[in-house]
């Protein structure tokens, strides 16, 4: 087993490189992804090594970035498009929900929409407006799309490759606040399937489900809770559409308490969906209603006060306290 330590940004870069080496029909397209290597340097060096035909600097129009990737998919290419920031995905929303999500169905399976939409998402980097949003629920809500979120360098390395190989369109959410954190990457074996959740920490009193940036926050909260004698199990959802419910069900059947943590606002969110599904499936195991620890129902605030918006360890602990408050 070959393991190496690298940042999530580097792991994504290496994953993209490996996918491009394996399949010449894999292309990258996005704004500033060529010479600059992307504003987050995720595609650093790839244009130099694979050429301008495969690593395409796109004019600045998100609908066209996705729309032309659809045409490339019809032609048999697998294009990984980079949306520079979460808040810039909305100009492409029409192409994503009207075309990317539906063309496989509309053509009775003739068109394979094998494209990946990379979405640096969530906040925590001190940016200006539109650079810190969590739009994943819009896509989870849409039949025909798959949505995943990585939380570690190892997952980033493998999940980007698995997304590219998958025949369905994948919205690939990258927690940009974790881009520069390092972790071990196993270069030989994928940790698990693309759509599998993973138990990150075992516990017996409360189940905390998180994804993206909030996995680490949840783990820190679990550590703090352990100091107070509360045993927290942390599950990284990893896949948001489909949700891998089985490990969550097993966990809630064990703990009887559920907290979901997300940066997104609460209303009609992925967290809401997880609470609803687990309430339906684990009703008699639950000892307390599921609690969502979320961003507030306000536009993402100016980043000088974003830490008051994004769920913190303390707010997760408060959520844990609330479910522990039931007998």
């Amino acid at each position: 087993m070959t393991t190496t330590t690298m940042t999530m940004a580097k792991a994504l870069n290496e994953g993209l490189r490996r996918a491009m080496e394996k399949d010449r029909r894999v292309l990258l397209m996005g704004e500033d992804i060529g010479k600059l290597g992307g504003v987050f340097r995720i595609t650093d060096g790839l244009q130099k090594d694979f050429g301008e035909d495969r690593v395409i600097d796109a004019p600045l129009a998100e609908s066209a970035i996705v729309g032309t990737a659809v045409g490339l998919a019809v032609r048999g290419y697998r294009t990984v498009v980079e949306i520079q920031f979460d808040g810039f995905v909305y100009p492409a929303f029409d192409q994503i929900v009207s075309q990317v999500a539906k063309l496989h169905k509309r053509t009775d399976g003739v068109y394979t929409m094998g494209l990946v939409i990379r979405l640096p998402f969530q906040g925590g980097i001190g940016a200006i407006e539109h650079h810190s949003e969590s739009p994943e629920a819009y896509f989870v809500h849409t039949a025909g799309l798959r949505v995943v979120a990585c939380s570690t360098p190892n997952d980033a390395y493998w999940m980007i490759q698995q997304s590219i190989e998958h025949d369905d369109p994948v919205i690939f959410c990258e927690p940009k606040s974790r881009y520069w954190e390092k972790g071990e990457v196993d270069l030989d074996n994928p940790p698990r399937g693309l759509f599998d959740a993973e138990v990150r920490r075992e516990g017996s009193d409360v189940t905390v489900v998180a994804y993206g940036s909030m996995v680490k926050t949840a783990l820190r909260a679990a550590e703090a809770a352990a100091g107070e004698g509360v045993s927290v199990e942390v599950i990284d959802a990893r896949s948001l559409s489909p949700l891998d419910l089985d490990p969550m069900i097993a966990s809630v059947e064990k703990t009887g308490r559920l907290v979901v943590v997300q940066e997104a606002t609460k209303s009609a969110s992925v967290g809401s969906e997880i609470v609803a599904e687990l309430t339906e499936r684990c009703f008699y195991s639950l000892r307390a209603p599921g609690v969502r620890v979320s961003g507030y129902h306000v536009p993402y605030p100016p980043s000088r006060i974003e830490d008051a918006f994004r769920p913190s360890v303390d707010r997760v602990l408060d959520g844990i306290d609330r479910v522990m408050g039931y007998a």
Binding site: P59, V66, G67, T68, G71, S98, Q99, T107, G109, D168
Partner: protein, 355 residues
Amino acid sequence: MIGEELIQLLTPEGQRVAHPEYESTLGGDEVFSFYRDMVIIRRLCNEATSLQRQGQLALWAPLQGQEAAQIGAGRALEPMDFTFPSYREHGIAWTRGVPPADMLRIFRATTTGGWDPQKYRHSVPTVVLGNQALHAVGYAMGVQRDGAEEAVMTFFGDGASSQGDVLESFVWAASFNAPIVFILQNNQWAISEPSSLQAKIPLYHRAHGFGFPGFRVDGNDVLAMYEVTKRALDNARAGGGPTLIEAYTYRMGAHTTSDDPTRYRIDAEVEMWKHRDPVERTKALLAREYKVKKAAFDEVAAEAETLALQLREDVLAMDAPDPITMFDDVYADAHPLVDEGRREMIELGVSVGPR
């Protein structure tokens, strides 16, 4: 109104006119076959309108008036070229070999597509205005990467020309020198809105601002449509990049069968365009220059009639799909929510009761 920039090779009276840059390369047999295509697609279109009026289709988008724009452009295509239509391109579909009944499936609401787009190299209808223009450019970028000598063609109207996707597709096509021909059918009306609301300049002028050539062609002149399109396609295949062709034409009928054009346009305008009919002028040319006899025209009419009856029969036999098929092909691979829905429908049975 039209101006001298209009490329025309055949007048509304069926007289040939000289153009400094284009001349018709078609022989009599070819012109006759173009005429046949136009007569047939018009007849099929009328049959579809009747079927809608009789409650057999949910909707129909008639092409009447635009036959030359579509047959001229469609016949200029090579078999390996690929086309991305909007929802009124029945004439293009006909030239690509799509069975007429398949064209009506989406309008009978038994599918959201209708045919195998790879088989006919003609994509499925796109209802959201302008989306397909980007797909076409992306496909053309794939053609470039494959080093293939193929061209791509896409279609939209004067209304859709205001859509961001269409304008973005112009940027992409220009920047990447994509082998694509944009056919803008300016049929003067976007439901009730006149083309003057979409553009304060002739629409084909927009191409120049994006950095590639644009032409306005008499869209009711099948000879001109063919020649201009063919040259643009050849140019695209040879690496010459994109072309915009504005087919200046007229929507003789309603936008769709749900529309009532008497609320927004005057009879005199419709009358004026009747005199520019694409089918009649071709017929006049054939009769005068190629001495085509009435019997030959009658034969085409009879063939169109037979096809229309066949279309009616095929459409009436087209049943609603089994509801369980709504769960097919949503994803290429299994998805638990789709599976859950399918299971529920099987267990509970299909429920179509009152609501």
